[in-house]
């Protein structure tokens, strides 16, 4: 489909490969670092229910199943029929050289379900879906290495904001 988005991105995380693999097995934690993802629940062996929102507020839901999982090597999932989004993901793991931790290679695929919809990620990110995936990976790295996503005075706001303190509530995943 012409609106489909296929993104490949890598990041190195300074944590042992087992720890990193287990973090990606644990889908319920994905909202900590994935933009626009609200929740993921395990609903059965290998099956999970995902909820996301678009910036405008529209919510999307879909079910996914695990299609591959080999400890410390690969984990992959794909959405099932009937959801709002056609999505699959594959994450490969490799030890980084020189004791730098773990290399994570992510492939994400998104396609619109119904005609006329731009892909969720495409619309959210303007012209650069790679950027959204890469920001997700950066936040994953921060959660693994530091325990939380790093914030600045400007980045806590979803929209552009001056680099000065504010009293507004902090936006999710910012």
């Amino acid at each position: 489909m012409s609106d489909a988005i296929h993104v490949r991105k890598a990041i190195t995380v300074r944590r042992p490969i087992g720890e990193v693999y287990r973090a990606w097995e644990n889908f319920t934690e994905f909202p900590r670092f994935m933009a626009y993802l609200d929740s993921v629940e395990n609903t059965g062996p290998r099956i999970s229910h995902w909820r996301a929102h678009e910036p405008g507020g529209n919510s999307l839901e879909w079910d996914a199943e695990v299609t591959e999982h080999e400890p410390n090597t690969v984990i992959a999932w794909r959405s099932l029929e009937g959801g709002d989004l056609n999505h699959s993901g594959k994450v490969k793991f490799r030890e980084a050289p020189m004791q730098q931790g773990t290399e994570v290679l992510v492939e994400m695929y998104y396609a619109p379900r119904s005609g006329g919809l731009a892909g969720l990620i495409g619309r959210l990110s303007g012209n650069d879906p790679t950027q959204v995936v890469q920001q997700d990976l950066r936040r994953f790295k921060q959660v693994m290495e530091l325990g939380e996503v790093v914030r600045s005075d400007a980045s806590i706001h979803e929209k552009m904001h001056a680099a000065q303190p504010s009293e507004e509530p902090v936006a999710v995943n910012q």
């Binding site: 300074r14 530091l146 600045s152 400007a154 904001h161 680099a163 000065q164 303190p165």
Partner: protein
């Protein structure tokens, strides 16, 4: 609180803004006792750095008293008196573990923006545009300091603010520039620029064993400071041909190493706003990077060009042939301040250097708008301006 805010090109004003708050569990809030204006702030002032927003708080050289700590802060306590390094570093990533704290892999939430300009992102920086994270700066009454256990250094008893403030940036910057020359002892080093960073580079080159330092500038008070406070031989580039003079002073060899402490000319024309244009190659109308080019041509064969001056984008007419054919090395980078804090604090304590010698102006935070103009125009023999948030404004 009151804070110096960038309001547009050549426009700063001291505004009332909310007080900072803890945003990450490792943060501290610092009540600022002394802060300064940096030469690189002038690039922001002049509108030459992309991604500034109206209201951005400026300033990356600051110190003060810890007034609040996040729940995961272990080393710092309320009441501690600290100097804060300008790069923000997490301490856990590979770059930080290797001591390369200005390359922290985690501290720039806007890494995507920096990547588009530079290939990868360096660390976040206080008060230095959204390209480096959109962190509020320290020309203010208070600042939020992330990774409070990693960055700030406590100030020993008996040292004044003015003696230690410059550990935040310009003293380590001059020191790293000199260190990057790889001195073995006795070399002749030439330094372009006798502003504060150049002055610290001169001092540091001597501390690191240089035999002779030749300093180049055109402002009499800066040349005088380089000569009288730092012991350099000085050249006024408006009065002499610098390359001829350098050759004569070095027996025809050229200086062994050269330090560029000038950087992007302050009147470098503006670049397009990063938010809209970052994916395009930045077509910058460049001013000739006179100091850098001259340093390359003047340097002895096989020497090092140590670039401390800030550059943002692209330059043209770069003498790559000279680099290749004469085996020159270029070393650069934003300062890895954290690794210099303790050793340089010790040198200050031992009396080997009093960094306050660069200060020419002591003003209050409310004087900031005027101070930016004075500093930019080098009026009134201005070399370095420090600001005190609690002082009364100048008449």
């Amino acid at each position: 609180m009151r804070a110096t805010c960038w309001m547009g090109k050549e426009s700063v004003s001291v505004e009332n803004v909310p007080d900072p708050r803890i945003l990450n569990s490792g943060d501290a809030i610092v009540r600022i006792t002394t802060t300064a204006i940096c030469g690189s702030d002038l690039h922001l002032y002049g509108g030459f750095v992309p991604s500034m927003e109206k209201g951005d708080i400026l300033g990356h050289e600051f110190m003060g008293e810890v007034v609040e700590v996040g729940r995961n802060v272990r080393k710092l306590k309320k009441g501690d008196r600290v100097v804060v390094p300008f790069p923000i570093a997490c301490g856990q990533c590979t770059a930080c573990q290797r001591g390369l704290t200005s390359l922290c892999e985690n501290s720039n939430p806007n890494a995507w923006m920096a990547e588009k300009m530079w290939g990868f992102s360096p660390a976040g920086i206080f008060g230095y545009s959204h390209l480096t994270g959109g962190f509020a700066g320290g020309q203010a009454e208070y600042a939020r300091v992330p990774f409070a256990d990693i960055g700030p250094i406590q100030v020993p008893e008996g040292l004044t603010d003015e003696q230690v403030l410059f550990l935040s940036d310009i003293f380590p910057t001059g020191y790293m520039a000199a260190e990057n020359c790889g001195l073995r002892g006795g070399e002749t080093v030439a330094v372009w620029g006798c502003g504060p960073v150049g002055l610290f580079a001169i001092q540091s080159a001597y501390l690191l064993g240089a035999g002779r330092v030749i300093a180049i500038d055109r402002f009499p008070e800066r040349l005088a400071k380089a000569k009288n406070s730092c012991g350099a031989d000085v050249l006024n580039y408006e009065a002499v041909d610098v390359r001829e003079a350098l050759e004569e002073m070095t027996g025809g060899r050229g200086p062994d190493h050269c330090i560029d402490a000038v950087g992007m000319e302050a009147h470098m024309p503006g670049v397009e706003h990063a938010y809209d244009r970052v994916k395009q190659a930045l077509m910058m109308e460049t001013d000739r990077p006179m100091a850098l080019r001259q340093a390359i041509l003047a340097c002895r064969n096989g020497g090092t060009i140590s670039v401390a001056g800030v550059y943002g984008g692209f330059i043209d007419k770069f003498p790559m042939g000279a680099i290749v054919n004469r085996a020159l090395t270029i070393k650069s980078g934003q300062t890895h301040v954290h690794r210099y804090l303790q050793p340089l604090m010790e040198r200050i304590q031992k009396g080997e250097i009093d960094p306050s010698f660069v200060i020419s102006h002591r003003l209050s935070l409310d004087d900031a708008p005027e101070a930016y103009r004075t500093f930019r125009d080098k009026q009134d023999s201005c070399i370095k301006v420090v600001l005190k948030p609690n002082a009364s404004p100048a008449a």
